[in-house]
Symmetry: C2
């Protein structure tokens, strides 16, 4: 049983799970674990690892439309090099500062594989869930897609500097808060746009129709792809770009664009059912790397 | 550099760390990681693992004198057996319910070694820190010491049922909240009483003088020890009993006993400096197993 099947099997045991964060009164809480073999390719610095790991949890806070309050992390490694550890903490602190949150520490643990678990706490009395979309709305994405896909290729090619730069991202907390009054459903694109659309479709019980020409494919992924088609595929399926994917009434789109500190791309509309790209079914898969 | 030296090296980078929880406004937040090789001996069920891992974080909330609000966990394993996962979730949920908190879910992660990271959120506007003790106060411990030491021996001997039973503990949230008006410094005994006293001594800049006859050594550890001296050693150094260790004015002791739902043992007094047992220096070590 893989992770996804297991999550489905236990859904009934955990009715409060299934969104980017758990809602606890007027707070939202989320936790993640990242580790070397699957999340930190050769060349990722500990500074970038701290930034990215804590950023992934802050992105979940953003996806609820919540303000970022604080984050903690467990740094687990076979040895504790003080410079590496300081780099990690600096990355963790800076990504928190980038979204007006506070990095408040955590714990160390002896572990064979470099592993990081992060937790973020956010505040909102009115979180945006994945379940509020209905047919006939606009579907939008913040920023651009494919930065992580590009980073992975740079790491593969041994250009760690470009890889690290692309691997650090600004969690869309500012956009999430700005979009809260308008968005009917929202999540982050941590598993790729394709997976996100399927997850929103399932949670909201409506369909999604997306046009490939409207996808905000990042220049960095074009630059590292063999043509526009491959770039688009990677932007759709690789994921981990930590952009916000959300729906809102067409009539609210102008106001949302005005309010959001991050550019928004309108990529399609919600429909009665199915998830389609240019009229064809869009595969429900992610983690293309 | 080991975990402890590394923590000391980075203390300046993280001034907000160093207590059982980080304080974030009127909330407290704490995170931990436990894993199979060091924390879950052969025979520990997933139900017990869920209970204990989440309980360890709730114990940190208790140590701040905070109410328990919610907990989340990441369950990382090489495979996801639904029964094992359900057992874990049931343990996590039940330990939360035992302290009037809510288990609100978490995440799954593919990992070679069974690893759990847990986070707990608590609420108090007036947390009890480790730093408030001064000479001439009473030193107390909730409940009893040595349950974990006894559990480890039962696991060693192949009696997993007794091991599991002793491995599940009730986090002292009720006692922590009740003691909040009286305690001047408090922490949990996760690294053993000896380590806890040294940590309180360092944080509060005062000494501790403890009498061995007054230690609340659990019957379970006596039963699995070769005489009273060994039982006492194991109660002092093995740790992970998750009891509260705290100081308070002698004049507040009766009121604190009255308020606390858990029995309190007065084990000694605070002094000007040094950490002593029966007048001799007490070793600053923990993790005896």
């Amino acid at each position: 049983m893989n992770e996804r099947e297991a999550l489905a099997a236990i859904a009934a045991d955990l009715p409060s799970a299934g969104d980017d964060c758990a809602v606890v009164g007027d707070r939202v809480l989320t936790t993640d674990m990242l580790h070397e073999t699957t999340d930190f390719p050769d060349g990722v610095t500990r500074y970038t690892a701290g930034w990215r790991a804590v950023g992934a949890s802050l992105s979940d806070v953003a996806a609820m439309g919540a303000d970022a309050e604080a984050a903690v992390a467990v740094y687990a490694a076979p040895e504790f090099d003080p410079d590496a550890l300081r780099g990690f903490i600096r990355g963790a602190r800076e990504v928190c500062e980038a979204v007006d949150g506070e990095y408040v520490g955590g714990d160390l643990d002896d572990h064979d594989e470099f592993t990081v678990s992060t937790t973020a706490l956010g505040a909102t009395a009115d979180p945006v869930l994945r379940s509020g979309a209905s047919p006939g709305e606009a579907v939008c994405v913040t920023g651009s897609l494919g930065r992580t896909a590009a980073a992975l290729r740079w790491f593969d090619r041994g250009d760690a500097e470009r890889g690290n730069e692309l691997f650090r991202f600004t969690p869309r907390v500012g956009a999430g808060v700005a979009l809260r009054p308008y968005a009917t459903a929202m999540m982050d694109s941590s598993d790729g746009l394709a997976r996100s659309l399927h997850q929103l479709s399932e949670a909201s019980d409506c369909g999604f129709a997306v046009e490939s020409d409207s996808l905000p494919v990042d220049e960095a992924v074009r630059e590292t792809s063999d043509g526009g088609r491959e770039a688009r595929e990677r932007a759709l399926f690789v994921g981990e770009d930590f952009e916000l994917v959300f729906t809102l009434p067409e009539s609210a789109l102008d106001a949302a664009r005005e309010a959001s500190p991050t550019p928004l791309a309108r990529v399609g509309t919600t429909t009665d059912d199915g998830v389609e790209l240019d009229g064809d079914p869009l595969a429900d898969r992610g983690y293309g790397h």
